[in-house]
C-alpha cells in the first residue's frame, strides 16, 4: 500500500523436513517476508528464495548440504503448497503471497 515496488515483500512460510532443520538452528518453520524482486528487479522465484535462505537465514556453515553448484543440492525435494514443485515450474516458480514452501531432504536409513 503506497510502498515503492523495491521495498515490497512477500509473506511466505518456509518449512524443513528430513533433517534440513538442523541447518536452520533446528527450526522446522520460518515465517518470512521475502523481497518481492531480486537485484535485477525480477519477481522473486524459488531459485531466489534458496539464495535468500542461504544468505539470510542459514546459521550453519555447511551451505553445501543445501546448495551445490548454484542449485539446490540433489536429494532435496521442494513442495509448494504441499505439491511437488515440478507441478508448479520448479526453480522458476514465482512466489505468491501466503505460499508454503517445504524443503524435504531424502532419508536413506532403515
Amino acid at each position: 500500500m503506497g510502498e515503492a515496488m523495491t521495498s515490497a515483500a512477500i509473506p511466505v512460510v518456509v518449512e524443513f523436513s528430513g533433517g534440513l532443520e538442523m541447518l536452520f538452528a533446528d527450526k522446522q518453520r520460518l515465517t518470512l517476508n521475502v523481497p518481492a524482486t531480486d537485484k535485477d528487479n525480477k519477481p522473486a522465484t524459488i531459485a531466489y528464495l534458496v539464495d535468500y535462505l542461504c544468505e539470510e537465514e542459514m546459521g550453519d556453515a555447511r551451505k553445501d548440504l543445501f546448495v551445490l553448484d548454484g542449485h539446490l543440492r540433489p536429494g532435496i525435494l521442494v513442495l509448494i503448497n504441499d505439491a511437488d514443485w515440478e507441478l508448479e515450474g520448479e526453480e522458476a516458480y514465482e512466489l505468491q503471497s501466503g505460499d508454503n514452501v517445504l524443503f524435504v531432504s531424502t532419508l536413506h536409513g532403515g
Binding site: 523436513s17 528430513g18 533433517g19 522446522q28 555447511r62 553445501d64 548440504l65 551445490l68 543440492r73 540433489p74 536429494g75 525435494l77 513442495l79 504441499d82 505439491a83 511437488d84 515440478e86 507441478l87 517445504l102 524435504v104 531432504s105 531424502t106 532419508l107 536413506h108 536409513g109 532403515g110
Partner: protein, 286 residues
C-alpha cells in the same frame, strides 16, 4: 465325506476372521492376499515390522533379502530378532519368528545383499517389492530392477526422528520411479545411516508398519489412487504427519522415461551403483 467347498480352510477363516469382517476387505481381499507373493528387501528396522504385519495377514509367499547377521545393537528396533539369535543371519532369525506367528505362509530366504548380479534372479518371481534397505545405492538398484521387471515398489526410510514413505512404479509403467523423484544421488557427505546417526525404534517401526498397510492396500484395492502421495513423519513435531503430492514420471528419466537408457543387460554388466552414489571423503562434513 463331502469335499471342502470353501475357498479358505477352517484354520484360515479362524485366523483371518477379524480382518475379513472389515468393511470393503472381506473374502475377496483375503483371496487376493492369499495369491500374493511379497518380497521384502532388508530385515532391519523397517523390514521387521513390515514382514511381521504382512506375514500375519496371510499372503502366499514372503521373500526376505538381507546379508547381515543380528547384532545386539539391532534389538532396540528390530523385534523379529532376539537376544538368543544374536549372530544368526537376520533372514533366518526373522523367519524363525514369522513361522511361529503364521505357519501358513511360505517363506523364502535370501541370505545375501542385493547386487547387480543377483537382482534380476531375486526379484523376478515376486508380485510386489518393499524397499526396507538403508543406503542410496540399494535404493537406486531396487528401483531400477522394479522398473525393468514391472514390479510395484513400496519404499520407506527413516533416520533419527523422521520417516518417509511412497509407492513407486504404481501402476507399473505409469507411476514415477525413485529416479524420477531423485534423479541425482545426494552427495555422499550428506548420507548418514542409522548406524552412525541413530534412530528411535518406534519411528522406524511406524514407517515399517505403514509400509505393510500400504502393501495390503496395493494388493487388495479396486483401482489405483489418482495422485502419487508421499508421507512424511517427524516424530517429535506437534503435527507429526504430512502427506504431500509427488510429481509424476519424468519424461527424460534414465530408468523409466520416454527413451530410457536402462536395460536389464546394462544393469547386470555396466551399472556401478556404488560409483554412481559416490563414496564419502574420509573426513565427513556431517
Amino acid at each position: 465325506a463331502k469335499p471342502w467347498a470353501w475357498p479358505l480352510s477352517g484354520e484360515e477363516y479362524q485366523r483371518y476372521s477379524r480382518q475379513m469382517i472389515v468393511p470393503n476387505f472381506g473374502i475377496e481381499a483375503q483371496l487376493q492376499l492369499k495369491a500374493a507373493k511379497i518380497l521384502i528387501i532388508g530385515a532391519g528396522g523397517l523390514g521387521c515390522p513390515a514382514a511381521t504385519y504382512l506375514a500375519a495377514a496371510g499372503p502366499s509367499h514372503i521373500g526376505l533379502v538381507d546379508g547381515d547377521v543380528v547384532e545386539k545393537s539391532n534389538l532396540h528396533r528390530q523385534f523379529a530378532h532376539a537376544t538368543s539369535r544374536v549372530g544368526q543371519t537376520k533372514v533366518s532369525s526373522a523367519i524363525t519368528f514369522l513361522k511361529d506367528l503364521n505357519p501358513n505362509v511360505v517363506y523364502k530366504a535370501y541370505e545375501t545383499h542385493m547386487s547387480t548380479s543377483n537382482a534380476e534372479e531375486i526379484v523376478r518371481e515376486w508380485d510386489i517389492v518393499l524397499d526396507c534397505t538403508d543406503h542410496p545405492t540399494s535404493r537406486y538398484l531396487i528401483s531400477d530392477i522394479c522398473i525393468l521387471l514391472g514390479k510395484r515398489l513400496v519404499s520407506a526410510s527413516a533416520f533419527q526422528k523422521s520417516g518417509q514413505m511412497m509407492v513407486l512404479n504404481d501402476p507399473p509403467g505409469q507411476g514415477p520411479c525413485y529416479r524420477c523423484i531423485f534423479p541425482k544421488p545426494p552427495p555422499p557427505e550428506s548420507v548418514v545411516g542409522c548406524g552412525e546417526g541413530g534412530i528411535l525404534g518406534p519411528v522406524v517401526g511406524t514407517m515399517g508398519v505403514l509400509q505393510a498397510l500400504e502393501t495390503l492396500k496395493v494388493i487388495t484395492r479396486e483401482a489405483p489412487p489418482e495422485k502419487n502421495m508421499m508421507l512424511l513423519f517427524s516424530g517429535m513435531a506437534e503435527m507429526p504427519f504430512r502427506s504431500i503430492r509427488m510429481r509424476g514420471k519424468r519424461k527424460d528419466c534414465f530408468a523409466c522415461g520416454e527413451k530410457p537408457s536402462l536395460t536389464l543387460e546394462g544393469l547386470q554388466t555396466s551399472m556401478d551403483y556404488v560409483q554412481f552414489c559416490g563414496v564419502r571423503r574420509p573426513v565427513s562434513l556431517l
